[in-house]
Symmetry: C2
Subunit: 426 residues, 2 copies
């Protein structure tokens, strides 16, 4: 290992260790103190908006020089109004109930031992994400509310913005007599720094990647610390033989077009053959009018009316997350064929059946093995805010620890408390 890598290794491990050492102070704070901290951070962000906007301008200038795409540039840009809404996220986090201390299970054993499983802070949460500076504050606020220190690694394109935001949060911690290292940024150490964070066993209790499929794959493949895999949604809707087609038209349009670049947006539409001749012309026309380009199998192509733009689906279309006004469409023989298609191609995020048949609904809900399985509802409801969590760290597509939308509870751990009166094991 050359000197530069060694120094990144030592800097990032040092940062993670500082966060770990700081965390017990936070763990002992009461809810009111944590909430007051978040409110103070919100005020400071608004008060120092000029400084943050100036730092952001440096990132934007670099983005313009490198020819960043307009959509990405927009997600990177900060102005006083956006900073105000970032600050509001901290106040919203303060308003949420404290997950720490909840008794999850409890009993008195036959021998008199009192047993309680209680919710405790995770410890140190690592976040690796892309160039959206709002994630920096949002992740820090939720982690702190849940009693954890946080180590943040944002996209290099947001380096100056993140550095400014983290400086504000750390200043507030210091002003309140709390360890600054409850919030640590490692952006300055580049991609090598992120790799060190992924291997920081014993220093990072969970690592949450938020971003595109490439980022998430890199984290999952390289991490030696526990990871929660988030994100990719190759989401399916099945229009069953008995679907209410008025509802189906509204739900399919909503799922595909209400917001396009999100993981719970619809990506593949399956239509039962018994209803395809009636449903596909309606759905195809409505989708085309909404600007959606259809990638269709042969049976679907034969049923679309003239004038509905479509292209033949390739094998890749069944596995792709378009995040765009594109939709894969297939006609399926029956429910079993739909279930098999979903089993083969779903990323395990969200699927929905549109049906009036009880048995179809029961089987779909029972047999589809995804984080969120729906009946007669738009996939866009697969969201922590919609579920009433008040906040969302991400949507887990793995089965371990958390599955589906993650709120504050999902970034806590538990421990067992056992109280005896001199108990020994016979």
């Amino acid at each position: 290992m050359d000197d530069q890598l060694l120094s990144v290794e030592s800097a990032v491990r040092g940062a993670a260790r500082a966060a770990k050492d700081a965390q017990p102070v936070l763990a002992r704070l009461r809810r009111a103190e944590k909430d007051a901290l978040l409110h103070a951070m919100a005020e400071a962000l608004v008060a120092r908006a000029d400084e943050i906007v100036a730092a952001n301008a440096q990132d934007l200038a670099a983005a313009d020089e490198s020819g960043m795409a307009a959509g990405l540039r927009d997600r990177l840009a900060l102005d006083p109004q956006r900073i105000a809404s970032i600050a509001q996220q901290l106040r919203d986090a303060a308003a949420l109930p404290d997950p720490v201390g909840e008794v999850v299970r409890g009993s008195v054993l036959a021998n008199g031992l009192e047993l309680r499983q209680v919710r405790v802070p995770m410890g140190v949460i690592g976040m690796v994400y892309e160039a959206r500076p709002n994630v920096t504050v949002d992740a820090a606020g939720l982690a702190l509310k849940a009693g954890s220190a946080v180590v943040l690694r944002g996209g290099s394109a947001a380096l100056h913005s993140n550095t400014a935001l983290i400086a504000v949060l750390r200043d507030v911690l210091a002003e309140r007599g709390l360890p600054e290292d409850l919030v640590v940024g490692i952006d300055a150490h580049g991609r090598e720094g992120a790799d060190v964070l992924m291997r920081a066993r014993g220093l990072v209790d969970v690592l949450i990647p938020r971003g595109g499929a490439g980022l998430i794959r890199r984290v999952v493949e390289n991490a030696q610390v526990p990871v929660i895999e988030t994100g990719t949604g190759t989401t399916h809707v099945l229009v069953d033989a008995s679907a209410d087609l008025d509802q189906a038209e509204q739900i399919v349009l909503n799922a595909k077009t209400q917001r396009v670049g999100v993981c719970n947006a619809l990506e593949t539409l399956l239509v039962h053959q018994d209803v395809a001749a009636e449903a596909l012309p309606r759905l195809g026309t409505a989708l085309a009018e909404a600007g959606v380009r259809l990638h269709v199998d042969e049976r679907a192509a034969a049923l679309l009316p003239a004038g509905v733009e479509h292209v033949p689906a390739t094998e890749e279309d069944w596995d792709v997350e378009y995040l765009a006004l594109e939709l894969a469409v297939a006609v399926v023989d029956d429910l079993d064929a739909a279930l098999a298609h979903i089993r083969a191609h779903s990323s395990g995020h969200t699927e929905s059946i549109l049906t009036r048949d009880l048995v179809s609904q029961q089987r779909f809900l029972a047999e589809v093995d995804s984080a969120v399985v729906m009946a007669n509802a738009s996939t866009r409801f697969s969201d922590g805010g919609e579920f009433g969590f008040g906040a969302e760290i991400g949507i887990s597509t793995q089965k371990l620890h958390a599955r589906g939308p993650m709120g504050l509870s999902e970034i806590t751990a538990t421990k067992w408390l056992v109280v005896g009166q001199g108990h020994v094991r016979p």
Copy 2:
């Protein structure tokens, strides 16, 4: 990659894929059918005990040839009586409630959407363990009861035993018209096979290593699939200033000597300085009489009566899991010093305070960040059986997903069911 490695890769991935493809059949079985399967497996193991003992004899012969230590050889050995008790574990698993289907949370949202979080099978569980053939059957039984297929990789020293046991289980599956690949063994592919299993993303939902620290570290460092880290227990007991010394003597002896080679056995004893002059002679004498060798710091050494065998503790003694009649002993200034020692040296498994002081107990339970934190009880109670789980897959020392003793619930996942009546997101 050479041909042999390529063929291991393809064989092990093929085995995991076969397990994944078989699992939906199991997921649809009702509890009664799963329980009948486990009873049939128990019967078959007893009926075919001769065959299993003969296979085990091959492993034992190889063990003798390689000069295996007596303790390890004993754990490897099978006879009809041990096979009967392995079979009984399957019947015990059958008697446990089915974790699948439990509604964990549920509500009706303001917009009328019905939301339920339900417990579902994990999918495919990978187990990597050492040369204890009973784990093969125990892990398979618990996984099947929880609705998951299982891929087993036992120690190479138990190859013939495991192969025979797995053959019996698979024969029973086939006889009952179920896919044999619900239970798959990959022992024949050696260490390379285990490495392939650790990287089988998309095929293995969770990998659980059971064994010594070396095995667990290898899995945690190399796995790309989600892992539950189990095991190592550098367990502490603090004798607080106000401890009842009669109870303390019983608990310390019980924690250290009731069973020695287990992860919840005591490894480090901390004694508050205010009680050390009274407590250490008593505890030291009782421990020495029980055959325990003490590794003591200077202050403890000064308080031990003549005739109590002890050696000076080295820095390593504070971090070691002896799994033997050895015990590290230190005198601490106060509760804060004890908490700092535990923070620095605990593996996060189990710690216990012996005290009559309410504030000491409260602080210890709140501030010690271990899977199981006790007051006035022997650490030996940190066990799934003792907690009333009826079975134990292992004891998790990580914070993600499961922490502390793991029963059937801990090897399930959840999913969200959302039922609407044509709901679209505004």
